[in-house]
Subunit: 400 residues, 2 copies
DNA sequence: GCCTTATGTTTCGAGAGAGAACAAAAGATC
DNA sequence: GATCTTTTGTTCTCTCTCGAAACATAAGGC
């Protein structure tokens, strides 16, 4: 009975208060749209100005906050010292997808410090060679960093089932990769000690919707995210947090929409991906599989029958699959990302109608479908955000 | 910029440490299988014996912990004072379902202090009269409480879409109720000031699996729960917590398993409930709809073709629907409750096979189907647990 | 030039846990 | 049966952190 029980969180002590409040102050500054003064921080967080000043001073000393030049707004009273998130802290976000490689560095203010995105066709490509190419891109990006930058972490977005704790990509159907451990392959290209943590592409891309910058909320807090790449990944975001079992989740593309439908390479039948995946839509529309993204939109907008039929079938399949997800998790907002974002305007009417019919709670909260423009390779940004969020969660660790 | 931002948690102060540690100590005692001493509490939580003793003394003074008689284990050293959760704190859990009414009082130790369960057929019953009957049951149960009991909360499990914040049952298809506010109807039967909070039956029943007593974990921490009543409700439990959008979620019964299937009363087609709901199974097996629970089991075990076919169809539909849920939330454990628990042994082989085929991550984590015996009207117990968990989350409020 | 106002800083006190010493109550040992 | 050992529970001092209030600072307004 003297053994420490698993799952019991550790006790609070005085230093816990300090740690919690340092994090609170840092997140408050990050969450704000513009610079805050020490007095603003006190007012927003509820601590006294004395305490706010003490906490801010410690964060400034550690570089997690920067004092910037005051812009001369003519106001009464002593002029405030504007505070913004520290510019020297940044994280590396990588992405390897069937259609592109990307390396991007994002700082604590949410700015892209450096990036390279290389399109290509990596279906069935050799994993070692491809990760090597990504490493070269990474090295290139890192040389462009300003002096004094501090990389706090790194992540790699992959389109498949990932065991993030073990650092293993278990299976990426569209790349044709299995049981791959990317970190050792990337180690030669990144600073020593920087661990590249893999993650599911859709999970990470969803973060870029939930957070428009580290610690700053995006327009939606609760939504189902759909990432249209060659496959279809998904993530459930609740209260701004991606839920699910850490990288195992989000295989929406393989939700069954018709048990009597065609066989899928995953072993099941009638998977969503066979109707609304990028290749499925292009094939049904009579377009080549390497057609540029805008072609399908133009064709359908012009009323081409095959293209319209392809989108109708896609909307129907998305409706069946998403209605199931909405019925289970109870979130009526669907955010379309990736190639589905471009098609959002064409898919929305039929898709929302299908959802209204099949979702039990639709009468009270009508499901809606929205899209976000999103950068190319949103997964890379999400991977960087994940690493930066770890700093926001516990800034005291960075202060020594 | 001096406005308090929404969503920013409040700052920590000294009293926060106290509050947190009081909760930690109380939850530690609740989580333990047997009584703990002050020294045990110190060892498990990590605080010093001095601090543990102070915290325990405060909880004992408030009645949240009880010091019980030492059982004479011959051990060296000064004998410890065994601590158990306070017996005088209890919560009321109610349930109204198509097949039963239930009222139950559960104390902080997880014991059923008093209960009444009344079977019946309440499909299409008048909501006011039915809730009135439940109120009479409740009044009866409350008179049986030992003197000095303190009811800390009350909950009502309902088989439908509930807005817990607003306290409204929006729609319960199998009861035929809509837009019902149960709290005022029950107010005459409960002590003044006790708010009866409605909740989704499956969400609440899932709690009884995640927690075998207030604060004490059950055998599974991450699972998909299926509650087989006349309809089929569901809940997703992650890390011991029911996730979802507070009562909107869990309508697994209306996940579409065959878009070309028969029309459902909900407006969609091919809903899971039409294949694996209680009535669907009985009808397909050629049994009357009011057949006692064991009949179908006996018939199928005896090899009756209609019964076996009914269960095959049910397992197939459950496989399609649950594979979708597993693919989205990434949890490979399915717990069957309600009438599905009795059928678990008959459903499991086919169901696990369907899941293995349709779940993308099955090769690494094979989905498994388990059942829990569960009390009748598990939702009532779950409703009481929810109220008791609120005390565990913040015992300081109870201490004034 | 003085007043007003808002920001930032200093000082003191209170609450809470850590650590160590102390007191208490049993079994173990001779 | 007296003493030692062991474990539990208590008391005391110290440190850490925040709150409160007074003070200092730097601007605009009159």
């Amino acid at each position: 009975m003297t053994q420490r029980l698993a799952g019991v969180p550790s006790s609070a002590r005085q230093s816990t208060v300090r740690t919690a409040n340092l994090g609170l102050v840092l997140r408050t500054v990050c969450a704000a749209a513009g610079p805050l003064s020490r007095a603003d921080v006190a007012a927003v967080t509820g601590v006294t100005r004395a305490t706010a000043a003490r906490l801010v001073d410690e964060l400034v000393a550690g570089g997690l906050l920067d004092e910037v030049e005051r812009e001369l707004l003519p106001r009464r009273g002593r002029p405030a010292t504007p505070l913004v998130p520290g510019a020297r802290f940044a994280a590396l976000g990588l992405q390897a997808d069937a259609g592109l490689l990307a390396a991007r560095v994002v700082d604590l203010r949410g700015r892209v410090v450096a990036e390279r995105v290389e399109p290509g066709d990596f279906r069935g490509a050799d994993p070692v060679a491809t990760i090597g190419a990504l490493g070269a891109l990474t090295a290139d990006v890192l040389t462009g960093l300003p002096a004094g930058s501090c990389l706090v972490g790194a992540g790699l977005a992959l389109p498949g089932v990932v065991d993030a704790d073990a650092g293993v990509l278990l299976r990426a159907p569209n790349l044709g990769w299995s049981d791959l451990r990317p970190a050792p392959l990337l180690a030669p290209f990144v600073p020593a000690g920087l661990d590249v943590v893999p993650g599911n592409e859709a999970d990470l891309a969803a973060r870029t919707v939930a957070e428009e910058a580290p610690g700053r909320s995006g327009p939606y807090r609760d939504f189902i995210y759909l990432s249209g790449q060659i496959g279809i990944g998904g993530a459930v975001v609740l209260g701004g947090r991606v839920t699910g079992s850490s990288g195992w989740a989000g295989e929406v593309g393989h939700v069954c929409v018709d048990p009597d439908g065609p066989a899928c390479s995953c072993g099941s039948t009638g998977c969503l991906e066979l109707y609304a995946g990028r290749h499925a839509l292009l094939r049904a529309a009579g377009l080549p599989l390497d057609a540029p993204p805008g072609d399908l939109v133009r064709l359908a907008a012009a009323g081409d029958p095959a293209a319209v039929a392809a989108l109708d079938a896609g909307a129907w399949a998305l409706g069946v699959a998403l209605a199931g997800v909405v019925n289970v998790v109870g979130i009526p907002t669907v955010v379309l990302g990736g190639h589905l974002a471009e098609l959002a305007d064409l898919l929305r009417p039929a898709l929302e109608e299908h959802l209204a019919r099949r979702v039990l709670s639709a009468r009270w909260r009508r499901p809606r479908v929205v899209s976000v423009p999103g950068p190319p390779a949103a997964g890379a940004s999400g991977a960087a955000l994940r690493a930066l969020d770890a700093v926001l969660a516990d800034p005291a660790r960075r202060l020594g």
